[in-house]
Amino acid sequence: MYNEALFYQSNLIYKEKNMDINFSKEDIAFRDEVRDWLANDYPKHVKEKTDAGITINKEDLIDFHKALSKKGWMGYNWPVEYGGTGWSASKLYIFNKELGLAGCPPILPFGVGMVGPVIYTFGNDEQKERFLPDILNFNTWWCQGYSEPGSGSDLASLKTKAVLRNDLDEDYYVVNGSKTWTTLAQNADWIFCLVRTDNSGIKQEGISFLLIDMKSPGIEVKPIITIDGDHEVNSVFFTDVKVPAKNLIGEEGKGWTYAKFLLAHERFGIAGVGASMRQLNRLKEIISKLDNSDLQKKVNELEVALSAIEITELRLLSALENGGHPGAESSILKIKGTEMQQALSELFVEASGEYALMYPGPHGYENNDKPAGPDYAAEGLSGFLNLRKTSIYGGSNEIQKNILSKFVLGV
């Protein structure tokens, strides 16, 4: 659990090294390698779209991930043993930051970031062989089936039911219920679900971790359109869906433990520092041409705040490399990192002035006539509306503050 405060703990370790805010030579060389990849092997058609602020499609996302696979970087957060890079925390940080700075789409977390680590940590050999290579090669698109209409922040109250049956010597679960807000389920081949296999004990017990083929009969995916006009999330309905028992990860009833492990696993990069720096740099350039002291002041304030976030992330990283454990402090990064993303997108909207009135939707004007006004107006609005989600998902910012008050403040 998160009951030790990382910053204090790392102070207890006897230290000989002096403080040094620069990365090592090795890390710098690695950074250059990443930059080199971005300059030469990051798919050009994806880069063109993201540079122009156009929403990318499914094929673009696949091309981007496949390019990472080809370089051997898809398993950026995995140990070498399972085909990952085995990178140190600082390399991981540099990788995330450089990709963000270059404007890459975020790496889809569901396969490589989420279900992969659960499978190699708690799955059996057959499951590892069956699922891990396809994740690293991006041959399967995963989605995350946690949230339900009645279970958002209170995830452990989930109700989607899985009942074990045996038929003609085959063990399988029959799944009934619904998941919601499932990101990009419309593209997914597989979904990893938390399901209820037992109702008798406390709600955290009786939850199991089940992998379900999206092509199974009885699954229905319905789009949910968000306020930016995009189709990014879905409802997923399960009616008597037959799932082979061999798709259960670990033990029945231990799903909550695995889910918590997964939450603790994705700590770095959640602040999105690289991507925010890119947006900040673009804004600085835009605002420098506007002769508007109010906007100038706002962008300066964001720059200072982003610097504070970045150094906070580096402190966590440094403590980690010195043998500390990431604690609940990383909730700081989730809260401040998402607030930063939102504030930057809002400043794009403000810098658009009266042109923030017009909004063509998430795909921009495409081949239609464009109205007068800055190019970034439509993109700014799309970002502003879309990024409201960041303080809601991944453990809402209110829930993060509950975590900080309980485990760091101890109240």
């Binding site: 922040s153 306020i227 923030a356 503050k401």
Partner: protein
């Protein structure tokens, strides 16, 4: 001193509320937004029947002679129901400008507005002119040829007539012309809050004296006063939105259970809703101040509308963001009404000068 609405005004508010409940619920609104017209003929006719389209016009012009107080009430209620009908462009921006002018054909046009049989748009904004509406680059030359481009013309796609600001020999002129006059081209775009606005260009459009509504000082005062009244109206709309954001969030959190209790029971959420409530009350106070100043046509009326506009620009957006956040995923769903208040607040802040601009104007 008395800062309460009178009985007649309260009745007007009730009438509008009832109408919006029965004829303009969120599903109906969504239907209209998705239609190609961006307004509903039938609803517009009902507006006419209720007398709302005649509200702000003087009795001499065939109107009801209501002022900024009644208009504010109407817009507050429109804000709550997120009404997108082109009232602002046709009735406020175009109609009241005509009404206050000495234009010879104004009675005919106002009568048509009152009966709901015409849409008129005011083309006041230009690319790269920011919020300075008094010195347009669109020109009217000595041969009465109109040249230039206007942008962000609300409801331009439905307008049969367009009122255009232009410069003639360094003085401001306001002219009115048919939208289908040769040389006029209109390109329309969706706004973030479900309306439409247009870019309109004029290429050697031949006019004559009869097209001129006002010139010089008269034109400047007319334009300033009209934009100021329209600004007051959308601020009232913002105040309505803020009240709804608070009410709807309170309702939602009372009904939403997590961790075995309504989430309204969590104190952190309670305080945030209290903040939304406080902001909504403070915005209402500034609205009352501004609308009374405009009603009295006091010297300070511009200043107080600026105060209000800068206040709702900032706190209105904040309330709407909080409303979305406290709804969780539901807040970002297009099918829920709550997220649409956020889009409305963006549109309101963008129109007629944003919060920063009006804060400067105020001081």
């Amino acid at each position: 001193m008395n800062l309460d609405y009178n009985d007649e005004q309260n009745m007007l508010r009730e009438q509008i509320q009832k109408f919006c409940e029965s004829e303009y619920d969120f599903y109906k609104r969504e239907e209209i937004v998705k239609s190609s017209n961006d307004f509903d003929e039938n609803v517009w006719n009902l507006f006419a029947e209720q007398g709302w389209l005649s509200m702000p016009f003087s009795e001499q012009s065939g109107g009801l002679g209501f002022g900024p107080i009644e208009l504010s009430i109407l817009f507050e209620e429109f804000g709550k129901a997120l009404v997108i009908e082109p009232y602002l462009s046709t009735v406020v921006l175009s109609g009241t400008l005509l009404d206050k002018s000495t234009f010879s054909e104004k009675n005919d046009l106002i009568e048509k507005i009152c009966t709901g049989s015409i849409h008129i748009s005011l083309a006041y904004a230009e690319v790269d002119n920011g919020y300075d509406y008094l010195s347009p680059s669109t020109t009217l030359d000595s041969k009465f040829a109109l040249n230039g481009t206007k942008t962000l013309v609300l409801n331009g796609s439905n307008a049969e007539k367009i009122i255009v600001t232009c410069t003639n020999d360094d003085t401001l002129n306001i002219v009115v012309l048919d939208a289908n006059t040769p040389g006029v081209s209109i390109n329309s775009f969706s706004t973030v809050d479900g309306q439409s606005c247009s870019e309109i260009s004029f290429e050697n459009v031949k006019l004559d004296k009869s097209n001129i509504i006002a010139t010089g000082n008269d034109a400047e005062n007319l334009l300033k006063e009209t934009i100021n009244l329209a600004t007051l109206c959308i601020c009232a709309e913002a105040v309505g939105c803020m009240e709804s954001c608070y009410h709807k969030t309170l309702e939602y959190t009372k009904g939403r259970e997590q961790f075995g209790q309504p989430i309204s029971g969590f104190q952190v959420l309670q305080h945030r809703m209290v903040d939304m409530f406080i902001e909504s009350e403070l915005a209402k106070s500034l609205l009352i101040k501004a609308m009374l100043e405009v009603n009295n046509r006091s010297d300070e009326m511009y200043k107080h509308v600026s105060a209000l506009k800068s206040y709702v620009g900032k706190s209105g957006k904040l309330s709407a963001k909080e409303a979305v956040q406290l709804h969780g995923g539901m807040g970002v769903s297009e099918e829920m009404m709550i997220g649409h208040y956020l889009k409305k607040m963006i549109s309101i802040d963008a129109l007629f000068g944003n919060a920063d601009y009006h804060l400067k104007t105020f001081s």
